[in-house]
């Protein structure tokens, strides 16, 4: 179970351009910090793949073990941890977030409104 979970988290981080691990979903953010990170990514018009870590406490444990980052949210761009809400917000304000996205995804990365939510366990019922 734990290996499957870790592999699924890795797979998402490695295959999605921009991943936001958050509490809740973009439609229903359950935490102010997750909301701040989401808003910063939206303002930069990043394509967002969101993962809700709330359904199972193991999700967060496994993610933090993998990333070495203790808190939620966590934002990854092209497999690299960018940081949590404070960093992403600060990078957004300074313009560095757009520069980072352009570096990683190309100058034409902008995808306003492109948001999807991915599940960590498709059939864990």
């Amino acid at each position: 179970m734990s290996d499957d979970l870790r592999n699924r988290i890795k797979e998402i981080i490695e295959t999605e351009d921009v991943v936001l691990f958050m509490k809740g979903t973009p439609q229903w953010a359950m935490c102010g910090n997750s909301m701040r990170a989401l808003e910063a990514l939206r303002a930069a018009e990043a394509p967002i793949a969101a993962v809700d870590i709330l359904p199972n406490p193991e999700y967060r444990k496994e993610l933090s073990a993998l990333s070495g980052w203790p808190t939620i949210p966590q934002v990854f761009v092209k497999g690299e941890l960018i940081g949590g809400a404070d960093i992403v917000q600060e990078l957004a304000l300074s313009g560095e977030l757009v520069a980072k996205l352009q570096d990683a995804l190309g100058a034409e990365y902008r995808a306003p409104g492109e948001e999807k939510t991915l599940a960590l366990a498709e059939a864990a019922a």
Partner: protein
């Protein structure tokens, strides 16, 4: 006199002082008064030349124990170098 505020923030302050001796600025704010939502502000020359994420990693490392045991439910971090 120990206030409710300082009772919650003192242990975190001690950890940060230990991790960043001689920091220019060290502020710990109990954001909700509930003793589990904090904002820490750290300015130290240790951060000079480090990326933002590495600066935050050092703060997270300093507070690893209260983060792991749930004492800190939510943490905001502001870091500054001195350069």
């Amino acid at each position: 006199m120990a206030t409710m505020q300082s009772m919650a923030t003192d242990p975190l302050r001690a950890l940060l002082e230990q991790a960043f001796p001689g920091a220019e600025e060290l502020e710990i704010i109990d954001r909700t008064g509930g003793g589990d939502h904090f904002h820490v502000i750290v300015q130290t020359d240790r951060f000079d030349g480090l990326s933002l994420i590495d600066q935050h990693r050092l703060v997270n490392d300093a507070l690893a124990a209260p983060l792991a045991d749930g004492t800190i439910h939510e943490l905001r971090i502001t870091t500054r170098g001195t350069a």
